[in-house]
């Protein structure tokens, strides 16, 4: 004959099998196995039995109890797996749904000229240079005279200088090159000097696809006891390899600048074997050193300079340099 608890256990097994959530399982567990549950009652009643029957009845009760416990565990396992799955299903997101109003993160962009300038600075810093800066509005002394370009010098006209209405006529100007920074550094520091000076420069050029009246140059200056022209050529070479890659070669050609002697242009090689003129350089003119209170018999130096904007133009194959100042975000966010 079936005991009452056995009937209850069978019912419980059925309820557990069909339980929809963990709360229903907990209900069954409490009813069957809890402090005042079916099995607790049945166990208490075992004491009423004859000692001869008690052992067999106890074994039977325990077996039923174990079956219920196993069913509870099984139901719990079933429900907690499917509950997690349901919860995750409810939270499902299509990560390709990038609505601008939700959580799309947009980074900004460095101006391409800044990127070129930073890369140049980094290469020269790696070669032991520090970075010097100076004002963009300069006096004739720094822009011309200290650089061995007296007022009558034929080279003055070639700078297409933009003058400023300050001081005497043509006494103050927007600097036409970064070379004034050389003077400012040498006036204030004793050699050895190893600096680069990037910055904005100005020429009276009408804006077109390849010209802007405001553009950027970088200047290099090394003054030490035994700096030679071979050091200049080697430094340009090392820079070119570091900046453009190992394939690119450099060469120097004689040229003329009032502030260097000997003077040179420097070219870099293109893949087709031709040469591209990149900038000017030379050994710092003794007059320039003297103008800064540096004895040219004791110290020698080299200087070089070239355009930064053009490097950005080359790197990104930009066909209209005016985009640099339009600041269209469709342009800026390409870099």
């Amino acid at each position: 004959m079936m005991e009452g608890y056995e009937q209850a256990a069978a019912d419980a097994a059925e309820r557990l099998a069909s339980a929809a959530d963990l709360d229903a399982v907990a209900d069954v567990e409490r009813e069957m196995l809890g402090r005042r549950s079916t099995f607790t009652e049945a166990k208490r009643r075992l004491g009423d039995l004859d000692p001869g029957e008690r052992a067999a009845a106890g074994r039977r009760l325990n077996a039923a109890r174990e079956r219920v416990e196993a069913s509870v565990a099984a139901a719990r396992a079933r429900l907690s797996a499917s509950g997690r799955a349901d919860r995750y299903a409810a939270e499902r997101l299509d990560l390709t749904e990038r609505l601008p109003r939700t959580t799309v993160l947009r980074r900004g962009h460095f101006h391409p000229v800044t990127q070129a300038r930073d890369r140049l600075e980094d290469v020269f810093v790696g070669m032991g240079y520090t970075v010097a800066e100076g004002p963009e509005v300069e006096s004739a002394w720094y822009n011309f005279e200290a650089l061995n370009i007296p007022d009558w010098h034929p080279a003055r006209g070639s700078f297409d200088t933009i003058f400023v209405n300050l001081g005497e006529s043509e006494e103050v100007m927007l600097r036409s090159h970064t070379s004034p920074v050389q003077i400012r550094v040498m006036e204030n520091r004793k050699p050895p000097i190893y600096i680069v000076a990037p910055g904005r420069t100005f020429r009276a050029d009408t804006a077109d696809a390849t010209h802007l009246p405001a553009f950027n140059q970088i200047e290099g200056l090394a003054v030490d006891r035994n700096i030679t022209m071979g050091d200049l050529a080697g430094t340009i070479d090392e820079f070119v390899r570091a900046f453009f890659g190992g394939e690119v070669k450099s060469r120097l050609r004689p040229s003329y600048f009032p502030f260097t002697e000997p003077s040179a242009e420097f070219d870099i090689s293109r893949p087709d074997g031709s040469w591209l003129e990149l900038g000017g350089c030379g050994m710092v003119h003794p007059n320039v050193l003297s103008n800064c209170g540096i004895d040219p018999e004791e110290w020698q130096g080299f200087a070089f300079g070239f355009g930064i904007d053009r490097l950005a133009v080359m790197r990104h194959e930009i066909d209209d340099i005016r985009e640099f100042v339009n600041n269209d975000v469709r342009f800026l966010s390409q870099f």
Partner: protein, 791 residues
């Protein structure tokens, strides 16, 4: 400077070889080849033709029919689109079958029913010049008696040649001549340089009877050489001369002008010719001008002179020319001229340069004089050449030469230390090698002891006067590419300054915050500063490229708003931009240069003021700025009730908030623009917080929320300060999490809700402790600010 291979070879016949290889040698010598063209290679099939008849095309307005005699005996009909010919003209005719320089092959064809058997050519079609307008009329350019059918190259005396356009530095006046280029190229190739000289028999009375020259100012004029020509040629130059002048970019004008140009291009010496009959007293006085003197120059312009300008005056002391720059009209050669005074002079370069610049008057002559012409034997050589060419064309030359001297450059031998040259160049050349290099370009070299040289710099190298100048010549001839490349061993650590590193950090933070870096031009239009509410005190440019770019900015605002407007006009919607750039504030008293500073600006279009404050907070945290305070203020260009001064460590360093809507409207910007501008230089150079370690508590915090009703006159920062002051050392954090206006809150006030977090480093706080502090916060904050707890 343009040069022809054939002309160079007249000075150094050994110059030969592949034109491309010669270009490389020129460039390596510093005579940079900008362009190389092979010229005079006339296509076979182009002959001299004579126009026999011209008549309209029956069915076309824009072409006419031309009958041409091509020497074959039969008349060719050619359809031609140009109308500048007359019957009898000699023209270039490309016969059927000719391959033109453009690649076109001339074929017999029909144009609207009329046969065309060849083509009459313009300059551009034959690659002989830029003129595309009409057919070349050759009547005056071919030798007399040239017959139709003669190959054009033969008729014009053209030979295949190489034309180089060279870039010549201001230190190389000598290389502004064929001879000077030949000297360098011969040295570069190691072939002989043999400049010819010329001599011509003179006749008639001696020059001393005809003209008199006085150098009044010896600084201005170092040398004045003159000769007199009689019966000066007046017609046009022979074709060979016209061809060479044309090739070098000089338009042939007339015999005497062409000779002057020819000698200048060939040998470097400019000359000037006077109609001697019109020079009062046949006297020349070389002196400085007096203020207010005037002269009408050859170009017909009246020029007003100032003291310092060099002039040529006549026997009446009237100015008849501007020395070394441009001659005067009153003594110009014309058809009635019989006697011509030819002047070849050496002028003081600074004087010529200043005058040419002041008068904004440049000429080929001035270009050479201001770089320093040759004051040595070349002046005589050039005069000989001038006379020889003039006599060849029918002039006679009077015996005698004027040669007056002023102060010429003193170029005694220069002691050059070979050790110094080697140490400058990084070479190990012997004294002998250096001497060979220098002699190859005409420098005089004598040995001066074991390691020194006495170098005589030639008179055609005015700019070269020092040991480094001589070193440059050694380097040039040795070859820059033959200098061994080394890298100096800087005993210095490279690196960015703290300022430069922080500036990069600022950029990185802003890019991380979604801002694009804009770099507008630093100049603005007149009125643009006023348009954004700023003082119109920007420094102005004297010669702006464009009037709309004639004022230096004093703020980054106009440029940034311009960039925002540009993006809106191009349908880019709202943008987040930033800029780090210089502004130029008026010069402080007693200082020449402006007060130039580096500013930072952030413009967030479509955003309200708090967005800009959030960016400021981000920067303040990244840079560890101490005590950044916002003080509500009405600032130029800014929204009056949505802006604040940014105060860092007690000093005003910029502005944050929104741009004034009226300014936005004036700049064509729609919507709001949140704005931040800082004096970056001062901020970065100012004090920073040291980031010191504070142990993090391992005990749980207690959070307390407090909402206060705060009158509008009390800033949130005041409430926050009161909370901090009253909360004591257990306060770990205070955060405003809600601001509410509306029902339940009286008009003129808002509810500000703060979450205070309390935490002790060494224990869990008890409820009683927290309740205590909470009450203190409520009481103190109410007392200090007038805020009341919202219940």
């Amino acid at each position: 400077m343009k040069v022809l291979l054939s002309w160079l070879r007249e000075f150094a016949p050994g110059i030969d070889g592949d034109p491309g290889a010669l270009s490389d040698v020129l460039s390596a010598l510093g005579l940079t080849v900008e362009e190389m063209t092979v010229t005079g290679a006339m296509p076979g099939g182009v002959v001299l033709g004579r126009v026999l008849d011209l008549r309209p095309h029956p069915d076309a307005d824009r072409i006419q029919l031309v009958d041409v005699d091509d020497g074959s005996g039969s008349t060719l009909q050619v359809c031609c689109g140009a109308f500048n010919m007359a019957v009898g003209d000699l023209v270039p005719l490309a016969r059927v079958g000719t391959a033109m320089p453009s690649g076109l092959e001339i074929a017999r064809r029909k144009l609207r029913g009329q046969t065309s058997e060849g083509m009459c050519c313009s300059e551009i079609e034959l690659d002989m010049g830029a003129d595309a307008e009409g057919i070349m009329i050759l009547n005056d350019r071919v030798a007399p008696g040239a017959e139709p059918g003669t190959p054009l190259a033969e008729a014009l005396g053209l030979e295949p040649d190489v034309l180089w356009d060279l870039e010549v530095g201001a230190n190389r006046p000598d290389a502004l001549s064929v001879m000077g280029v030949a000297r360098d190229l011969a040295a570069g190739l190691g072939v002989a340089f043999e400049p010819p000289d010329w001599s011509t028999p003179a006749s008639g009375p001696d020059i001393s009877d005809a003209a008199d020259v006085e150098i009044v100012d010896p600084t201005l004029c170092g040398r004045f050489v003159g000769r007199v020509l009689r019966n000066a040629p007046a017609g046009s130059s022979p074709p060979w001369m016209a061809n060479r002048l044309t090739a070098l970019g000089q338009r042939p004008i007339n015999s005497i002008v062409d000779i002057s140009n020819y000698v200048m291009l060939e040998l470097g010496q400019p000359s000037h010719t006077f109609d001697l009959g019109r020079v009062s007293g046949a006297r020349i006085r070389v002196r400085r001008a007096r203020d207010g003197e005037t002269v009408i120059t050859l170009d017909g312009q009246q020029r007003s002179l100032s003291a310092g300008d060099g002039v040529i005056a006549d026997g009446d002391d009237g100015v008849i020319g501007i020395a070394g720059v441009m001659g005067g009209a009153s003594t110009e050669i014309d058809a009635g001229t019989t006697d011509v005074l030819v002047e070849m002079a050496w002028w003081d370069p600074p004087s010529i340069s200043r005058t040419a610049k002041r008068l904004n008057l440049s000429s080929e002559a001035a270009t050479r004089f201001r770089r320093g012409a040759d004051w040595g034997y070349n002046v005589e050589r050039c005069m000989n050449r001038f006379v020889q060419l003039a006599v060849e064309q029918g002039a006679e030359v009077a015996p005698g030469t004027i040669d007056e001297r002023g102060n010429l450059p003193d170029r005694g031998p220069l002691r050059v230390r070979t050790s110094r040259v080697n140490s400058l160049l990084g070479t190990g050349l012997s004294a002998e090698q250096m001497a060979d290099h220098l002699r190859s370009i005409g420098f005089g070299v004598d040995s001066a002891g074991d390691a020194d040289l006495d170098v005589t710099i030639p008179t055609w190298r005015w700019d070269t006067e020092t040991e480094t100048g001589v070193s440059e010549e050694v380097a040039r001839l040795h070859g820059y590419e033959n200098i061994e490349r080394t890298v100096p061993t800087a005993n210095e650590a490279g690196g960015l300054s703290p300022y430069q590193k922080d500036r990069r950090l600022v950029r990185e933070v802003l890019v991380g915050a979604g801002c694009c870096e804009a770099q507008p031009m630093p100049f603005v239009a007149p009125g643009a500063l006023a348009a954004v509410g700023l003082a119109e005190d920007g420094i102005t440019l004297s010669n702006p490229v464009d009037d709309s770019e004639s004022v230096l900015r004093t703020s980054l605002l106009p440029g940034q708003l311009g960039a925002v407007a540009y993006n809106q006009r191009h349908f880019n919607g709202d943008v987040r931009l930033f800029e780090i750039g210089h502004v130029y504030l008026p010069s402080p008293e007693g200082q020449l240069l402006p007060d130039e500073r580096e500013f930072l600006a952030v413009a967030l279009s479509g955003e309200e003021a708090p967005a800009a404050v959030a960016v400021l907070d981000l920067l303040a945290e990244a840079l560890a700025l101490p005590a950044v305070e916002l003080r509500a203020a009405e600032l130029p260009g800014m929204h009056p009730t949505r802006s604040a001064e940014v105060v860092v460590a007690g000093r005003e360093r910029g502005a944050v908030g929104e741009v004034d809507p009226e300014v936005l409207e004036a700049c064509g910007v729609s919507g709001r623009v949140a704005w931040l501008q800082l004096d970056l230089q001062q901020v970065l150079e100012g004090p920073r917080t040291r980031r010191r370690y504070r142990p993090v508590s391992k005990y749980p915090p207690s959070d307390v929320d407090l909402a206060f009703v705060v009158p509008d006159g009390v800033a949130a920062v005041q409430v926050e300060r009161a909370l901090r002051a009253s909360a004591g050392s257990l306060l770990a954090r205070v955060e405003l999490f809600d601001s509410y206006r509306g029902s339940g809150v009286p008009e003129g006030s808002r509810s500000l809700a703060y979450r205070l977090r309390f935490q002790a480093p060494d224990r869990t706080l008890t409820d009683a402790e927290v309740a205590d502090i909470r009450q203190r916060c409520i009481d103190e904050t109410s007392r200090r600010t007038g805020a009341t707890l919202r219940t």
